[in-house]
């Protein structure tokens, strides 16, 4: 779980997997906090099997906090579940979903 590199090409993204719901967000948040100072954080959500409002809020919080500190969040991959939620909330643009991973077509 090394996301320290500045260049996208040799970046190892942070992987979140399984459920990203109210039941797991507290734990995931603790996991994410160390990365809040990153200039660029790459996130791989291709293994997320469930995303609810709490999980979405967590992603949004992560992005906004990074932004506020001058950093950036990039999704390198996502699962259809993620695409569905971001599409519903029209957040695809904010998370730059199109340039990320598979299932980008569903976003619009």
């Amino acid at each position: 779980m090394n996301a320290r590199s500045e260049r996208p090409t040799d970046t190892e993204p942070l992987v979140l997997d399984g459920d990203l719901t109210i039941y797991t967000v507290a734990e995931t948040a603790t996991r994410l906090r160390p990365y809040l100072a990153e200039r660029r954080l790459y996130l791989d959500l291709s293994a997320v099997s469930e995303l609810d409002g709490a999980g979405l809020q967590l992603l949004l919080w992560l992005r906004e906090t990074l932004h506020a500190r001058g950093g950036a969040l990039r999704l390198v991959a996502h699962s259809p579940v993620v695409a569905e939620v971001l599409g519903l909330l029209q957040l695809s643009g904010r998370f730059d979903l199109d340039s990320a991973g598979p299932a980008a077509g569903e976003a619009a």
């Binding site: 409002g53 709490a54 809020q57 906004e64 906090t65 957040l91 643009g93």
Partner: protein, 746 residues
């Protein structure tokens, strides 16, 4: 109402609507954001569509529907209102006018449309589609909305989107415990999405979440702003979020289209049921019971002393509270109140206004003219019979007749501004063609005059304005090089002056070159090379028929185009045209017209064997000639009245009708008349007093008679000529000029 008169009403309505559409489009050219004007364009198309549909004019419905739909998208901000689009809308307006004319003129509504017209319509619609297609797609619109919201979080729930929209605007602010209560906000959005279309979604976090260590992943900080489109009513939408009632602050604002639906519904509420705005809004579905209850609670808490009778106060208060708690857009409450008000006034206005056939009105005025004559005849008979007792009655009758006359004439009075506003379009179109920048300023539009006069003066006015725009005002480049502002200015000003209306058309353009006019006039043989003409006289030459051909017109900076026609038209209305111009500075044309063509107050005088009527409004004073009141003859054609030198005309000399039986040396009287800036004297034998004068035009035979505007029948049955003071002034001036030249020659 027969079908025919219904059609007439339709035509009148369409004309009004198209005029307001044109005004709105002109306003939009200056300010494309003007919501009021956007609505006016939409409404015009919408109403024409609706009424056209009633008559079964399908092609009108089809065309206006497409324009209406486009306007709706413009209003909702989906299509930007560009200049080319406005230009196309102008054409759509014109096309609608042509369509309506053609179709209504046709005997049956089913008659197939003239293929050429249909093609023109299709071409226009195709262009509309094209300019519409270039519009902002919903995705990019939502993107920019999201960006705007991201820039200022938490602003979205207090501010209403400024764009007019057909979307339900829903804001949701979930409370911290939402997740812990087992509620997932996303499920509501999904459900709402299934009822219609979520056009815009903006998601943001309460700023608290972004504070250092302020974020608790299990608390909910989510706030949503939703733009929703769907065929649902407010209670249905409220129902979606019912489950989350405890965990969420919900505000639902109806779309503007619903708003207009509400307004329609409001307008349809019978008068006796228009009482209480809360019930009303609830009834039409603009409000949910819950929202109303909450407002009522607040109201009850605030004050409990509002009695049943004080519905006005109560209505306002509930409206305020509803807006405050975000249940309803302020505009709906305001407009609902306004619509109620308007509905009430409209009902009153319906009783106040009656559309009357102009011909009937004309007939009425003719009859009143006869009545005036008859009452004058009675007066004469009574006088002759010497029945003293009758005098008072006659006075009463005459007073009433003159009141009736004034009121009847007032019926035909219309503000001139309604007709002048059409020139905005003329100027705009001509500017487009010629690449000029011209501002048309209209002042005094509220000045009233007879509708028949208005109609007849529109043509000459159009001519003058075209001239000013076409030839008077220079191109922006030329103007700049001459040190003038690039934008030219045409100013139309109207005002009343002693029983006349004065219309001035002034431009700040190139002006007229008197020398060139002179040269042209000499070439045309209108003046001799050794004639001495003042500057005014030279300028007046452009009203001469000989100077009116196109070729000369261009040489004379175009001012000659049909100026003689203008003058003829104005003079046919018993009016005059004057022109003043300074080379390089501009031109001003002043038209003076009588307010009405039918009946005037006159001043009856006798000269020789005949009687003459001078319009009373032009009589300044009457003085006895030769009396020691400072009246002195001053040469042959002038008189010195208290130090003021006036030209005068002796009517008996002018009309060559001196009464041979008249004893020489009998005192004559001087009637001082005034016309515009001019003042002159008319020498008459007797002053006979005021009378109401019905103007009868003289026949063609007397067309060339100078100084006479018409005739009238006196109570005695005699005929008196009505003097045209303006022409008399011109005659007097001519005499003076001749005398002056004679003097110079000697």
């Amino acid at each position: 109402m027969s079908l025919d008169s219904a059609r007439q009403a339709f035509l009148a309505e369409v004309a009004e609507l198209l005029q307001s559409m044109e005004d709105a489009l002109l306003a939009l050219e200056d300010d494309p954001e003007d919501a009021e004007s956007l609505n006016a364009v939409f409404r015009a198309m919408h109403t024409i569509k609706g009424t056209g549909g009633v008559f079964g004019y399908d092609s009108i419905v089809d065309f206006t529907h497409t324009v209406e739909t486009l306007m709706d998208r413009v209003r909702s901000g989906q299509v930007p209102l560009t200049r080319p689009l406005i230009a196309t809308l102008f054409e759509c307006r014109d096309h609608t006018a042509r369509l309506v004319d053609t179709i209504v003129a046709a005997s049956t509504p089913d008659e197939p449309l003239d293929p050429e017209l249909a093609r023109a319509g299709e071409a226009l619609l195709a262009r509309l589609g094209h300019s519409g297609g270039a519009g902002v797609s919903p995705e990019s619109a939502s993107g920019s909305a999201a960006d705007a919201n991201a820039a200022s979080p938490s602003a979205s729930d207090t501010k209403y989107l400024p764009v007019v929209s057909d979307l339900w605007m829903i804001t949701l602010r979930f409370k911290r415990d939402t997740f812990r209560d087992g509620i997932d906000p996303l499920s509501f959005l999904r459900y709402l999405g299934s009822l219609g279309e979520l056009v815009h979604v903006t998601t943001q976090l309460d700023p608290e979440a972004l504070r250092e260590d302020g974020f608790d992943a299990e608390s909910c900080y989510l706030e949503f702003g939703l733009g929703f489109r769907g065929e649902v009513d407010k209670p249905t939408i409220a129902g979606v979020f019912e489950f989350a009632d405890q965990d969420c602050e919900i505000r639902i604002l109806e779309p503007d289209t619903a708003q207009s639906k509400y307004l329609d519904l409001l307008a349809a509420v019978p008068d006796d049921q228009v009482g209480w705005i809360g019930d009303l809004l609830l009834r039409i579905g603009a409000l949910t019971q819950g929202e109303l209850d909450r407002a009522l609670e607040t109201q009850a808490a605030e004050s409990s002393d509002v009695g049943e009778g004080e519905s006005e106060t109560r209505k306002r208060r509930v409206g305020e509270i509803l807006v405050e708690q975000g249940s309803i857009k302020p505009a709906v409450v305001e407009q609902a109140a306004r619509t109620q008000e308007a509905a009430r006034t409209r009902r009153q206005e319906e009783a106040h206004f009656i559309r009357v056939d102009a011909q009937r009105l004309g007939h009425l005025i003719d009859l009143i003219g006869e009545l005036v004559t008859s009452s004058a005849a009675i007066r004469v008979l009574v006088k002759r019979a010497g029945v003293e007792d009758m005098n008072e009655v006659i006075d009463g009758v005459e007073y009433l007749v003159s009141e009736i006359r004034d009121n009847a004439l007032q019926l035909r009075m219309v503000p001139i501004g309604d007709s002048l506003s059409r020139f905005k379009r003329v100027v705009r179109d001509t500017c487009r063609e010629l690449g000029k920048e011209i501002e048309l300023v209209i002042t005094g539009g509220e000045t009233e005059l007879d509708k028949t006069v208005v109609e007849k003066m529109i043509d000459p006015l159009t001519h003058l304005i075209r001239n000013a725009v076409d030839h008077g005002i220079e191109t922006p480049e030329v103007r700049r090089s001459r040190g003038k502002p690039a934008q030219g200015r045409v100013h139309i000003n109207a005002y009343h002056d002693s029983g006349h209306i004065v219309v001035e058309i002034a431009d700040d353009g190139a002006g007229l070159d008197a020398e060139r006019i002179r040269a042209k006039a000499e070439a045309a043989g209108l003046v001799k090379p050794d004639d001495v003409l003042t500057r005014e006289e030279t300028l007046r030459l452009i009203f001469a028929p000989g100077l009116s051909t196109k070729e000369q017109a261009t040489n004379l900076s175009g001012r000659g185009v049909g100026m003689d026609v203008v003058r003829r038209n104005i003079e046919a209305l018993r009016g005059t045209v004057e022109l003043d111009s300074r080379l390089g500075e501009g031109t001003q044309v002043t038209i003076v017209l009588p307010l009405t063509l039918a009946i005037i107050d006159g001043f009856l005088v006798g000269a020789g064997a005949d009687q003459y009527v001078i319009p009373l409004s032009q009589v300044a004073e009457c003085v006895e000639m030769g009396a020691a009141s400072g009246v002195k003859r001053h040469g042959e054609h002038y008189i010195n009245l208290r130090g003021e030198v006036l030209p005068f005309i002796r009517l008996t000399e002018l009309f060559e009708n001196a009464d041979p039986e008249r004893r020489a040396g009998r005192r004559e009287s001087l009637v001082v008349v005034r016309f515009g800036h001019h003042k002159m004297g008319l020498v008459v034998d007797t002053l006979l007093g005021e009378l109401q004068t019905v103007i009868k035009p003289l026949g063609k035979v007397f067309e060339r008679l100078r100084g006479v505007a018409g005739a009238t029948i006196l109570g005695t049955g005699d005929i008196a000529l009505i003097l045209d003071v303006a022409e008399l002034a011109a005659i007097a001036e001519g005499q003076r000029a001749v005398a002056g030249r004679r003097l110079a020659g000697a």
